[in-house]
């Protein structure tokens, strides 16, 4: 970067000259134009491409989301309608993905099943974020006794083997979508808390936080406007990974027959059905579609989380 004082002086003197000699004003504009050109070129730094895979992953997630949201509007059969004249069929024009051993349309079941996975995944993480994230932000910034207490609490929850605890609670409380979402959400609270607390803690001691304080910012303002924006990249990445994790756990529960009650489809339930009655050898499509969809969705979520992290890292790297 050239000596900026000198730049300023040239600008100022050019302006002075311009006032006195109208002909010189053009030169002044020229200087400004040169400077703004340089400024634009600097902005290119931010626009590093995400790559093809990122967009592929994003499109897949978009498809899954849109299909799940607008499932009722799509020309789909009732996912629970049993067509006894079309049992265990392969893909055809009537049933694009085929039917299962009870004659239910696999495409309809796949799309309606996506709803459960997405709701459990994203709302579960939402609960974890709101409770664990808020507690983590405050705990990391404030420190002291509050931090010790919240930390101890998070360790206590983490000490339970999650899947066993979830199985026990689901068994007693009942297998509804709301219950499962809440239970899995609560299970992610300590994870979110620990990650966000660690990040918040690392920023709480930085000079810019002290600087904000010396400019008269309140604690609330510092947490929300100084620390929170810095914690966002970590939060986004970790949340996406956790969404993937929860979808897997829901699948595990379903596989054990503990997710939402049958015949409501969920991807986990579908995979479970695909293994029942030796269906894997006779009708592999039942399991293939949900397993593939889930694999692609998890891969996409992780990839996007990873790419976002890389992009956010640019700033840290140049700092």
């Amino acid at each position: 970067m050239p000596d900026d004082r000198e730049l300023l002086d040239t600008g100022a003197s050019a302006q002075l000259l311009g006032d006195r000699f109208p002909g010189m004003a053009a030169m002044d504009e020229h200087v400004v134009a040169m400077q703004s050109e340089k400024l634009d070129s600097d902005d290119v730094l931010l626009k590093r491409p995400f790559g093809f895979l990122f967009w592929f992953a994003l499109v897949w997630i978009a498809i899954v989301f849109l299909a799940a949201i607008f499932a009722n509007l799509l020309p789909l059969q009732n996912p629970n309608f049993q067509n006894y004249s079309a049992l265990s069929q392969g893909p055809s024009s009537a049933h694009l993905l085929g039917t299962d051993d009870l004659g239910r349309d696999l495409l309809a079941r796949l799309i309606f099943g996506a709803r459960v996975s997405l709701i459990v995944g994203f709302f579960g993480v939402g609960i974890g974020l709101i409770v664990g994230g808020t507690a983590g932000l405050i705990s990391g910034y404030k420190g002291g006794r509050l931090d010790v207490a919240l930390n101890a609490g998070s360790f206590i929850i983490l000490a339970f083997p999650a899947i066993v605890a979830v199985i026990a609670i689901v068994t007693f409380w009942g297998q509804s979508l709301v219950h499962i979402t809440i239970i899995l959400g609560v299970a992610t609270i300590p994870l979110m808390f620990r990650v966000i607390r660690a990040s918040s803690l690392s920023f709480a001691q930085r000079d810019f936080v002290v600087a904000a304080k010396t400019m008269g910012a309140t604690d609330t303002r510092i947490v929300l406007r100084e620390i929170f924006p810095n914690v966002i990249p970590v939060t986004v990445t970790f949340s996406l990974i956790t969404v993937a994790g929860i979808i897997v756990i829901e699948g595990t529960l379903a596989f054990l027959g503990l997710s939402v009650n049958l015949p409501t489809p969920s991807w986990g339930n579908l995979i479970n059905e695909g293994t029942a009655n030796n269906a894997l050898s006779t009708d592999p499509y039942i399991m293939l579609w949900p397993a593939m969809s889930m694999f692609l969705l998890l891969w996409s979520i992780n990839l996007i989380g990873d790419r976002l992290r890389q992009r956010f890292d640019i700033r840290e790297g140049l700092l």
């Binding site: 300023l8 010396t214 400019m215 008269g216 309140t218 966002i232 140049l318």
Partner: protein, 378 residues
């Protein structure tokens, strides 16, 4: 202190708005409780700063200058910190204020420029937003007004194309530019006192001079007082009105800048000056470093704290701590039993026995009005 109202951040301060010095620090002590013992980082420091003046605080690493500036601001966490003494800012005692009251003064009346512009700006916020925040907070500006003021501030600290640069992130700026932004933030609400804690340490020498000149220009323009904390006598030499030299948490010499350089009394100050390399030195000449290391502030040396490293130290120096006193000029204070006269120590070549009454006060010595010679003071 009432919240400032009105939109114009560039009001010239009325110098006569209150009587007496702007900042009065009286017998300030700051100590940290650690597992090894109590670290007395600032140990009985008193001084005042007048409206529009510059005070330089100089000392080597560990002399307590950063702790001093932070405890004046009231920024140290209350846990494990023992603080006593008072800090009066414009007649109000900062040490007696709660956080809510302090927040109204911080930024608006009293602000701080940090040492490292690389870490003192929030990396994920545009610099314009960072400047505008305190404007909106203290001066009740609306978004648009704050933004245009931010542009003006950037222009006033010498950043070219401020209209575009308000939208930049800190990482897009060089170190010198960032320090300019820091200055713009600190000066946004036209404070009356700016605490600059080693504002140029992270910058290279040519940029250092630019930043210090900029600060001096803005100070003159806005009639602010500045406390310039540094380890480099060269930084304060041409810029400060008064200089305080700190050693091991105490003031060892305090004088108007010209007097300090012309008539150095304290061997430590002299040693600091001698440690600055000169262009006229023959090439290959060794630096005049001060031997030894700064004292352990948990168990400071008895007597004069500089005595273990002082080439003129006598038995008296090692046993009795010299008070801060004057000889002749009332605004030249120093803490030394055998002050230098024209750069030559008045200490006798051979240590002599001590006959001084330990209760000797600065006034007694000053009344004597003679450079004390070995062991015969009062």
């Amino acid at each position: 202190m009432a919240k400032k109202t009105g939109g114009d951040a560039f009001d010239f301060k009325d110098a006569a708005s209150h009587a007496g010095p702007l900042l009065v620090v009286d017998d300030l002590h700051t100590a940290f409780r650690t597992s090894r013992g109590t670290v007395r980082a600032v140990d009985g420091v008193s001084f005042e700063v007048h409206e529009g003046k510059t005070l330089g605080i100089v000392g080597e690493s560990g002399s307590g200058k950063t702790v001093l500036s932070r405890s004046i601001m009231g920024l140290l966490p209350p846990r494990d910190v023992i603080r006593s003494g008072t800090v009066h800012f414009a007649g109000h005692d900062l040490t007696a204020m709660g956080d809510t009251e302090l927040r109204r003064i911080w930024g608006a009346e009293l602000s701080m420029i940090f040492q490292d512009p690389m870490t003192a700006l929030n990396p994920v916020k545009r610099i314009g937003v960072q400047i505008a925040e305190s404007l909106r907070l203290h001066l009740d500006m609306d978004k648009k007004e704050a933004r245009s003021t931010a542009v003006e501030l950037l222009r006033s600290v010498g950043i070219p194309s401020p209209e575009q640069r308000v939208r930049w992130y800190p990482f897009q700026l060089s170190g010198g530019m960032r320090q300019r932004v820091m200055i713009a933030i600190a000066l946004a609400c036209a404070p009356r006192l700016v605490m600059a804690d080693e504002p140029t340490t992270g910058l290279d020498v040519t940029v250092q001079a630019q930043i210090l000149d900029l600060l001096a220009d803005l100070q003159r323009e806005r009639h602010m007082a500045v406390i310039l904390v540094t380890h480099d006598l060269g930084v304060v030499a041409g810029r400060a009105d008064d200089i305080i030299v700190m050693y091991a948490g105490r003031i060892v010499e305090r004088a108007p800048t010209r007097t300090l350089f012309a008539d150095t009394k304290m061997p430590y100050t002299k040693a600091l000056m001698d440690s600055i390399p000169r262009l006229a030195d023959p090439s290959g000449a060794r630096l005049n470093a001060i031997g030894g290391r700064p004292p352990d502030l948990i168990h400071p040396p008895t007597g004069c704290r500089f005595s273990p490293r002082c080439q003129y130290a006598q038995d008296k120096c090692r046993e009795i701590e010299p008070p801060l006193r004057t000889v002749g000029s009332p605004d030249h204070l120093f803490a030394c039993w055998y002050p230098l006269v024209d750069g030559v120590s008045t200490a006798p070549a051979v240590p002599v026995s001590i006959t001084t009454n330990p209760a000797t006060t600065a006034n007694d010595v000053a009344a004597n009005d003679a450079a004390p010679t070995g062991g015969t003071t009062s």
